[in-house]
């Protein structure tokens, strides 16, 4: 099937485009991009409604799909349904499943589930260590052969420097980045919230920002030692951002991501509007205003490479407990694009082109995946955005199996209009005017 997306605003930083262009899709590939393209007779013409933006498909490089083993929270099918509803054409999924993604069999299982769901692309991330126990390396070569795109012990930071060194050296042979959930375990202790005034007032055990930055600095040093590529996941503390800048200035192969909640929310939410709301409990924790503002600055000045959601679904029963007993994490796939528009693009912190870089181009580069570009011959993964359409988040209406979001009731301007994966439309948003033309 051939389709011409005609006359939309195309934002494609990989090819330096931000203007009105036609995008010609042939099958699962981009056939041509240009002005006033002439196409053959069997091409369906889709006139992009005015105001909509056509960009390379968004890639969320930090998602918990929970399958296998925690299907009561999320499955590959429900998670990828949430992904495409949020404008993501691909997601990279974390290995802290049950069993852990630490061998080729589990990688293949996840990919099989993704093929059955047939919505977003799924890029499994394998464990660094067997069982994420921080002792022996997982079956890295075999996982790579089965389709894994990166390594991480997410949720269980690689605790010893020697194992991290070995992982970087070994993964380097296969051109796999190592993604680190930076957290020095003894400093984190039993902490449940950012260490500071709000946690102190509420009697919650604190986690200082340095628990994160100390490990980031260690990993950056090890990246220099080994020549390996380190990616700092869900960065939350201003000290960590400084560590990443330091590493980049020295030429270390280090990249980093930030989540929407860490550049929007702060630890003030621990006490209000709902005191001890377990939907503001995440790891790393919401930090203070200075950290939130540092993340905004890092997004604007280019120090931060990617926005990722750390989509972490948990069942309502698991969250309906005392704050210190609740699991960490919130869902994020379906709130990300509205937040990026409302909090970054519309206020002028970043351009839309920069947003596409953070949400599409850079994640593709870090994970060495196709996508992130509307170049001729590239995969036809396309996200259509409606910057002016407003949405009010209703938790119960999320596609994700879990509804644990602190953004319920928030209104944002800017939504996903349609999501196209491999040339095939997998989502159109009924709330975005004109989106039906992409069906």
């Amino acid at each position: 099937m051939k389709r011409l997306l005609r006359g939309g605003r195309v934002v494609d930083p990989a090819n330096g485009r931000d203007g009105v262009f036609d995008v010609w899709i042939d099958g699962d590939r981009i056939a041509q991009v240009g002005r006033d393209l002439r196409v053959d007779g069997d091409t369906r013409i889709v006139d992009v409604p005015s105001g909509l933006v056509v960009c390379p498909g968004l890639i969320d490089m930090h998602v918990h799909l929970r399958e296998p083993g925690q299907e009561h929270k999320e499955t590959v099918a429900t998670g990828t349904a949430a992904a495409v509803a949020g404008g993501f054409t691909a997601v990279a999924c974390m290995p802290n499943t049950s069993p852990v993604i630490d061998n080729a069999g589990v990688v293949a299982y996840v990919l099989k589930k993704a093929a059955e769901a047939n919505l977003a692309r799924v890029y499994p991330i394998g464990a660094v260590s067997r069982g994420q126990r921080g002792e022996q390396l997982a079956d890295i070569a075999e996982m790579k052969a089965a389709g894994c795109v990166a390594l991480t012990d997410d949720g269980h930071p690689v605790s010893t420097a020697i194992l991290m060194r070995r992982a970087l050296e070994y993964a380097g042979m296969f051109d796999l980045p190592v993604i680190e959930h930076c957290e020095e375990q003894s400093l984190k202790g039993e902490g449940v919230a950012h260490e500071g005034f709000h946690a102190s007032s509420l009697g919650l055990r604190g986690i200082p920002g340095e628990a994160e930055s100390i490990m980031a600095l260690r990993d950056i040093s090890l990246a220099e030692l080994t020549g390996g590529a380190v990616h700092v996941a869900h960065m939350s503390a201003r000290q960590t951002l400084d560590a990443v800048r330091y590493g980049k200035s020295r030429g270390a192969r280090v990249t980093c991501e930030v989540t929407p909640h860490h550049f929007v929310l702060t630890d003030e939410m621990l006490g209000a509007p709902v005191a001890y709301d377990t939907n503001v409990k995440m790891n790393p924790p919401l930090r203070q205003i200075e950290d939130r503002d540092a993340m905004l600055a890092g997004l604007a000045d280019g120090s931060i490479d990617a926005i990722a959601t750390d989509h972490a679904p948990h069942h309502a029963d698991e969250k309906a407990v005392e704050f210190d007993r609740a699991p960490f994490g919130i869902v994020g796939l379906e709130t990300c694009v509205p937040i990026v528009f409302e909090k970054l693009v519309h206020p002028g912190h970043i351009t839309l082109a920069r947003a596409v870089e953070l949400l599409s181009l850079n994640p593709a580069r870090i994970l060495r995946r196709p996508g992130g570009s509307l170049a001729v011959g590239a995969v036809a993964d396309v996200t259509v955005l409606a910057p002016e359409a407003s949405t009010t988040i209703v938790a119960s209406r999320l596609m994700s199996k879990s509804k644990n979001t602190p953004f319920g009731g928030w209104t944002f301007r800017g939504v996903t209009a349609a999501t196209i994966v491999g040339g095939r439309t997998v989502f159109t948003n009924p709330d975005a005017p004109g989106a039906a033309v992409f069906a």
Partner: protein, 308 residues
């Protein structure tokens, strides 16, 4: 008053004074030969305790009985929490039996807030994790006012494990709200980050903190804190922060010495201070009953009378 008493932050200064004034009248009931009034007759109060407590539970129970409430004690062993039903389910089950008040003691900060969102019964926080213990702060204020006739302008120093103390947080909120000059003092490892924002002076020098104080309030040191490397030994703690007669001598001559209990003699307080002339520690316990009667009366008794 608000539906629940979860934090001193739920009370205005006026409401605090109303509780203290009401407690004066309640104390008189405890001095009668027949220590009972019918104020809460027909009301049901559930004391839901997830942590062992002798003093607070007994104090609430006596207060409830003196007001003629029907009281029920539920002690949930902490070991059964992990395998048993959730706090929310327990709360809904109790709620189904329509009590008027639930008095909750729980090891998790914010447990009362969770209950409050589920229950229409009134919740009184009898200690939640390291968050707050509002009725303790009220009885402390009652005791201070009795001896000093005021709270505003007094220098009140609180010494000990500030980090893990719910008594500290409630007292700081209450005493600063009523205009006291509040100092907190302890080893730097046990000072909650950012605590100065609550309007207190923070010091790691006990001599400086105690100098000229009207009130010295000691907090309990838990023996296991050495394991967290908060300080090296109980001996060193006592030598550095323990309240001795020499240190008390730096306070005002008529300073009172307080402790919420249970005390560790020879750790945070020397016996000659605990049993000395300035000590009001047992008065605090006695006043606890009157203050809790006042809270129960104002929360569960008065409003209904007004409605009737």
């Amino acid at each position: 008053m608000k539906k629940d008493l979860l934090s001193i932050g739920d009370l205005s200064a006026e409401e605090i004074y109303r509780i203290l004034d009401t407690a004066e009248a309640m104390r008189e009931i405890g001095q009668r030969p027949i220590k009972k009034v019918p104020t809460l007759r027909g009301k049901t109060v559930v004391n839901l305790f997830y942590e062992p407590s002798t003093r607070t539970r007994t104090s609430f129970e006596i207060a409830e009985k003196r007001l003629s409430a029907d009281t029920l004690n539920i002690a949930v062993a902490s070991s059964s929490v992990l395998k048993g039903e959730t706090l929310a389910d327990t709360a809904m089950n109790i709620e189904a039996m329509a009590p008027d008040v639930i008095v909750l003691r729980h090891a998790s900060s914010g447990a009362g807030h969770l209950l409050s969102r589920i229950c229409t019964s009134r919740i009184i926080n009898a200690g939640d994790g390291t968050h707050e213990h509002p009725t303790q702060a009220l009885l402390d204020a009652f005791t201070i006012r009795e001896h000093k006739q005021r709270i505003e302008g007094l220098k009140i120093v609180i010494v000990g494990d500030l980090l893990h103390s719910r008594v500290l947080r409630s007292n700081v909120l209450l005493l600063t709200k009523l205009g006291a000059d509040v100092w907190v003092c302890g080893p730097s490892t046990l000072i909650p980050p950012g605590i100065a924002r609550l309007g207190v002076r923070v010091s790691t020098s006990i001599d400086e903190a105690v100098a000229g104080a009207d009130v010295v309030m000691m907090l309990r040191i838990q023996q296991e804190r050495m394991q967290g490397a908060f300080f090296p030994s109980l001996r060193e703690y006592f030598n550095t922060f323990g309240m001795t007669a020499e240190r008390v001598a730096r306070a005002k001559p008529d300073a009172i010495i307080m402790h919420p209990g249970p005390m560790n003699r020879g750790v945070e307080i020397a016996s000659d201070v605990a049993d000395g002339p300035g000590s009001v520690i047992l008065e605090q316990v006695a006043n606890g009953v009157a203050v809790r009667m006042a809270v129960l009366y104002l929360m569960a008794g008065v409003e209904d009378e007004a409605a009737a």
